[in-house]
């Protein structure tokens, strides 16, 4: 039997009331989207394209104007869907009067976990996000990156089947970003479905199996990363060796009726250089598409 998709949207539409007597503003128009279970799916798009609205509709924080969405087989916003979903909002505006441990425990309690269970889970999650030593500090004194990690711990503490992240790496420095992406890769390895929205295309390219690109509230393209990135009729080669080897390859291509469109020295991504120089490159192989071409 085919498992229920993690997320399924049909004709999902959201129009907000315009301000000052203006007509309704369409934030999302007729979105059809299927995110299968397992793996990481990315929602891409410029500002105002409807990414956050889509996420809020899937979580039941907005009611759709038209269409419907199902999350883990339940209508969006259904308590059971929420129980199995972890959510990390775009801004980690945590309750400033709580400590990191209390923040995570509160999230666990809201998901119905018992006192002992949530204490253990909170300690475990803070350890995983690297905040075990800061557990007793109030979050109001935390840096943005630390707050993001607390928010991630909140989203993960109850062991969700689906993790929904709104711009998870926004505002993080490369080290924080690397840590967060590694954690998400780990989640994927444990079978958690991850749906994230992001502006950071390199993150999406590195982490996601599927992407959906939104523009002006409409779905522009959706599919696996390979399908979306594939350039029809073209193949990229990466050659390691002297210039003569590159020249030989060019000639071979032309003799076979092909054409070399471009040839340039392969470059390492700046982020990788940055992390290597800081000694923070954990050497975790990028899950997908990390190699140069």
């Amino acid at each position: 039997m085919t498992p229920t998709p993690a997320v399924e949207a049909r004709g999902l539409t959201k129009r907000f009331r315009g301000r000052g007597g203006a007509g309704p503003v369409a934030a999302l128009e007729g979105l059809d989207l299927v995110v299968p279970r397992g793996g990481v799916a990315g929602l891409l798009g410029p500002n105002g394209s409807g990414k956050s609205t889509t996420i809020r509709l899937l979580l039941g924080l907005h009611r759709p104007t038209a269409g419907e969405a199902r999350v883990l087989g339940f209508p969006a916003g259904h308590p059971e869907a929420r129980r199995r979903t972890g959510y990390m909002p775009e801004e980690s505006d945590l309750y400033p009067f709580l400590t990191a441990r209390e923040s995570v425990e509160t999230a666990a309690a809201l998901h119905g976990m018992g006192r002992r269970e949530r204490r253990e889970a909170a300690a475990r999650m803070l350890e995983r996000v690297g905040l075990a030593d800061e557990a007793r500090r109030r979050v109001e004194g935390f840096s943005r990156g630390m707050k993001r990690r607390v928010a991630l711990a909140q989203a993960l503490v109850h062991g969700p089947e689906l993790l929904v992240l709104d711009e998870p790496t926004a505002g993080l420095d490369p080290v924080g970003r690397e840590g967060l992406l590694s954690l998400l890769a780990e989640c994927r390895g444990r079978g958690v479905t991850v749906l994230l929205s992001s502006h950071a295309l390199s993150d999406v390219e590195r982490l996601c199996d599927r992407v959906a690109i939104l523009g002006a509230g409409r779905l522009a393209v959706e599919g696996t990363l390979a399908e979306v990135l594939e350039k029809r009729g073209a193949t990229a080669l990466e050659i390691e060796g002297p210039g003569a080897a590159v020249e030989a390859a060019r000639r071979a291509a032309e003799e076979a009726g092909g054409r070399v469109v471009s040839a340039r020295p392969a470059r390492e991504p700046l982020e990788r250089v940055f992390l290597r120089l800081l000694g923070r490159d954990r050497g975790a192989p990028p899950p997908d598409g990390g190699g140069g071409t």
């Binding site: 959510y87 801004e91 999230a107």
Partner: protein, 407 residues
Amino acid sequence: MTGVLPVAALRLREALAGRILFLLPLHFLLALAAASAVPGPTPEARGEAADAAALALAAVLGLAAAAVLGAGPLADERLRPRGGVVLASPAGPAARVLGTALGTGGALLLLVGALLASALAAVDLGSEGPPRAPRGLWRAASLDGGVPDDREPGLSWLTAAAPEATVRFDAPAPADAWLEVEARPRLGGAGMPGLKRASFRFPDAPGAGAARDAAGLQGALRVPVPAGARRVVVARERDNLDLGLRTAGVRLDVGPRPRALARALHAAALGAGLLAAMAAAIALSTVAGAGVAAAGSLSLALLSLFRATFADAAGMLAHAGAMERAIEAAHGAHGHGAELTGTPPALAPLFRALSALLPDGTRFDLGGAVAGGEVPDPGDAGTAVLAGLAAAALFLALAVLGARRRP
């Protein structure tokens, strides 16, 4: 219902995390200033005035806190990302509203206790002199004598023809008790004295002499009562005003225990009012912004503070209407009550309509009771608590309905 207790705990922490605690030193300073500044002819009178000022301050600050605390969390969380952890959790709208009510209400009850302690401390520090006459709760059990009023059941007039009435209490007066008598003045054929006067005798304490007291037209008559007295004979003085007495208007002011009880009753009534204001704010916050919700519920709460004014106005209208009707009945079709009473012509139809609705003898006593600063008796406090809880239940129901429409 998943999430009620975590939301309540969150709200309690939120409320106590500085959003209301500043009210305590503020209240203490204001109450101390008021207690130091209130005038009064005797230390007892000063103490009572200071008490009233401190309690009124507590009520105003508490109601403001209830409105702001109730309106804040839910409205704020819809706008700020911090709400994500609550709004996206399995805790549904009903759990969020109920948890908010429980947590914020708990914080408010703590605030009420702290405000009353602050009032006690401020009044004790601010008013000097001998111990103040405490507010008592012992009301007279019966009142015999005088001339019963035709229109108002329970009201008896001490007139020149029947100048005395005997008041009985269920228990003998303890030591250091005071008798407080609210007497309505009425011109009794003599000139127009500016003070109402009365003398008091105590048949159960033959050794004690008669006592006399005078008060302004709105003030209460107060005399010390010998220990053991169960009956008091109140007498109108010659060439002075007729005095209208009610059983409920004659009280014994006694020692500290009733004072503590009175404060507890005040706390109960205040708490009920705060909960109602908070619940109104929560309800409004599910359909409006925090500012609108706070302003709306604060307005409701402040209106309730001015209930004495409304009650007085209603009482005045009823009196005026009844008076006109009586005049017109006495003069037949030729009498024009509005002209005789000086009622503005524009208001005359309103008075007539009101008097037609009300039975003879109708009078609103609430205004007098509140203006007189009466301590609520257990029945009053119980009514206030029940009314507050009923209002809270209504508001919460509305809030749940509103929250269902808006996540």
